[in-house]
C-alpha cells in the first residue's frame, strides 16, 4: 500500500482540485464566465477583459503569438481564423488535422514554462480546472505573457467563450459568425426535440469499473440539450463510479458510450446483467465521439447533435 501512495497522493490531490473546480462557481458573471469591456473602435484595442477567475487583463494590440492550453481553445482559434498565430498547444490537441504541425508546450495539467518562454508569446489561454487566479498570475509572471483563463461549465457558456476568444485575438466578426452559427444549430436541435418525450440516457465514460458522467459535466448538459434525461443526474460528482445494479433498475432508454475507451456495442451488450437492459434488447446502444462532448469548443454543438440523433432517431430522419 505504501508503495502505491507515492503516486496516488498527488493524483488524489489533482482529482480533488478537479472536482472542487467543477462544483465552484466562477467569480465572474456572464454565461462565458468572462466579460469584456473596451472602447468599441474598429480595431478593438486597447481591450480590457475580465477572465473566468476574475482577473482584469488589458491588451494594447492584437496578440500575435498565442499559446492555447486546451484542445477546445485551439479548435476555437482555428475556427475564427487565427490558426497562423497559434504557436503552442497541448499534447492532447488533435483537431483540426493541421494542428499536428504546431509545437507542443504542455498537457492538460499546464504548460512547460521554458518552452513557452522560448516561443516569445504574447497570449496564453488556459482552460482547465487547475487554473486558479494564483496559478494564472504566477504563469503570467513566469512566461511574461498575458494569461487569460476560461472555464465554461455549460454548452451555452462554451459557445459564448468562442466569441470571447475571437474578440481577444481581434477576430470579433468571425467570432460573431461562428457563435451565431452554433446558436442557430443548437436552436434547430432544440426545436426538433422539443415536442418529443424525453428519453432516459446513460452515458458510459469507462466500462470496468463502470464510470458515468454526472452533473457538472458537459455530457450531462449535452444530454439535456439533446432532449434527454441523464439517469445519473443524482450523483454528486462529474465523473463518478456508478452502480450496475442501479443502472439495471433504472433501465435507461438509451445507452451511450464514449468512443475513446475503445468499447464496442457487442462488448457492452455482452456484459453480465446487460441483456436485461431495454437499450440492449432494442438495439439502442450507441458509441459516440466523446471528443465532441467533452471539449467546450466550436464542435460542442456537433456533440449535442450526435447525442440528439442517437436518442431521437425519428426526429432526425
Amino acid at each position: 500500500m505504501h508503495k502505491k501512495a507515492s503516486w496516488t497522493l498527488p493524483m488524489l490531490l489533482f482529482l480533488f482540485s478537479l472536482s472542487a473546480a467543477c462544483s465552484g462557481d466562477g467569480p465572474a458573471g456572464g454565461p462565458s464566465g468572462a466579460n469584456t469591456s473596451g472602447p468599441e473602435e474598429a480595431s478593438g484595442y486597447p481591450l480590457t477583459i475580465t477572465d473566468a477567475v476574475g482577473r482584469e487583463v488589458t491588451f494594447d494590440s492584437r496578440p500575435k503569438r498565442i499559446v492555447s492550453m486546451a484542445p477546445s481553445v485551439t479548435e476555437t482559434l482555428f475556427a475564427v481564423g487565427a490558426a497562423n498565430r497559434v504557436v503552442g498547444v497541448t499534447t492532447a490537441d488533435d483537431y483540426p488535422p493541421e494542428v499536428e504541425a504546431v509545437e507542443r508546450v504542455g498537457d492538460y495539467r499546464g504548460p512547460n514554462v521554458e518552452k513557452v518562454l522560448s516561443l516569445n508569446t504574447d497570449l496564453m489561454i488556459l482552460s482547465f480546472d487547475g487554473a486558479t487566479e494564483g496559478y494564472a498570475e504566477d504563469m503570467a509572471e513566469k512566461t511574461r505573457t498575458k494569461v487569460v483563463v476560461l472555464n465554461p461549465k455549460t454548452v451555452d457558456a462554451a459557445i459564448s467563450s468562442v466569441g470571447l476568444v475571437a474578440k481577444l485575438v481581434g477576430e470579433r466578426e468571425k467570432g460573431r459568425v461562428v457563435e451565431e452559427r452554433l446558436r442557430d444549430e443548437l436552436g434547430r436541435i432544440g426545436e426538433k426535440v422539443a415536442g418529443e418525450p424525453k428519453p432516459t440516457v446513460f452515458y458510459e465514460v469507462w466500462g470496468d469499473p463502470l464510470q458515468t458522467a454526472g452533473p457538472g459535466s458537459f455530457i450531462d448538459d449535452a444530454i439535456r440539450l439533446a432532449g434527454g434525461t441523464n439517469v445519473a443526474a443524482d450523483t454528486g460528482d462529474a465523473y463518478p463510479e456508478y452502480s450496475k445494479e442501479t443502472l439495471l433498475q433504472r433501465d435507461p432508454d438509451y445507452y451511450l458510450a464514449g468512443r475513446s475507451s475503445g468499447v464496442t456495442v457487442e462488448e457492452i451488450s455482452g456484459r453480465p446483467g446487460y441483456p436485461a437492459l431495454g437499450a440492449v434488447k432494442d438495439g439502442r446502444v450507441t458509441i459516440v465521439n466523446d471528443d465532441l462532448v467533452v471539449r467546450p469548443g466550436p464542435r460542442i454543438v456537433e456533440g449535442v447533435r450526435e447525442i440528439a440523433e442517437a436518442i431521437h432517431p425519428k426526429a432526425f430522419d
Partner: protein, 360 residues
Amino acid sequence: MDETGGKGEGGGKPVASGFSGVLLALLAGLFASVTLATIVGPVWISPLTVWKVALHEATGFLRPDWSAAEGQIVWQIRFPRVLLAAVVGAGLSVVGTALQAAVRNPLADPFVLGGSSGASVGAVLVIAGGVQFFGIYSLSVAAFVGASVAFVLVLALARSPGGHTSPLRLILAGVAASYALSAVTSFLVLRADDPEEVRSVLFWTLGSLGGARWEYLTLPSAALIGGTALLLAQSRSLNALLAGEETAVTLGVETDGFRRRLLILCGLLTGTMVAVSGTIGFVGLMVPHTVRLVVGADHRRVLPAAALSGAILLVWADVVARTAISPEEMPVGVVTSLAGAPFFLWLMRRKRGAFGGEGG
C-alpha cells in the same frame, strides 16, 4: 509463577477443541455474510425474491414472478460479485499469511514483492495506453502478467551470487522493484492525454469488484482452493520458517528451495486475485495478524481461519462500497483500509501481550 499462567485472555486458549469452535463460527459467519450480502444493494429487492431467483437460476424450479431486471441484478450482478469478494478476500489473506512466513516479516502483504505495482503497470498500459490484446479480458490479463513479471524480477534480483534468497534481500528487492514500477506507472499516467483515463487508473488501483462476472470466479476459486491446500500441506514447514531461519533448517526444512516454491505459489495467487479485483490493500496484511491474535501462530489454524475471515471481511467491505454513496460506488480498497485499520489498532491495544508489548 503458576498464577501468571492462568491470567487468561492474553495467551492460552488456542487448544484444538477451541479451534474447531472458531472454525465452525467462521464458516457459519461466512455463510450468513454471503446470504445477507446478496440481499443488500443499492437497489432494494426483497430477500424472498433474491432466493427465488437464486433457486430458479440454480435448479430451474419456480416460474419467474419477478422482473427481468431483478433477475439480472440478483444473478448476474450480485451473486458473482459477493462470491468474488469472498474468493478474493480469502485469497489475499492466505497469500498474506504465507508471505509473512516466507519473508519472516510482519509487514509483508501480498504486494510486498512488487505485485501491486507490477499489476498497476499492466493496468495502466491497458487503460491509458490503449493496449488491447484480449478484448474484455485485456485488463485482467495485463494485471496478471504485470504482477507475475514483477514477481519473477524480484525473485531474480533477490538471489545472492551464492544462490541464497534471504528474507531481507527479498523485501529490499521488492521495495526497490515497487518504486521502479510505480515510477513507470506514474510516468504512463502523466503521459495520458485524458484526465478521465487518470481517474480510471485511480479507481482500478484502489480496487473494485464491480467488474465481477461468473466467468471471473472459476480461475480464482480453483487457485484459492489449490493454493490453500498446498500451503496447508506445508504448514509445519511454514511454522518452522516463522520460528526462525536456522530453526527451520534444523527442523528439516530446506529453506531456499521451500521459500522459492512458496513465493512462486504466492505470486501466482496474487496475480490471479489482482487480475479480477485490482489492488485491494489492507486485507492481506491485517487479516493474518488479526487471526493470529485469536488462534495463535500455527499455520494449520491460521490458514483456514484467515481464509474465512478474509472472505467475510471483503464481502462486507464490498457491501459498504456498493451501498454507502449509492448510486455511486466507492473503491473497495478505501473501505477495507478505512474500516479495517481502526479495528486492527483496537485489537492490538486490547491484546497487550502481542507484538512484543510485554515480551522478554
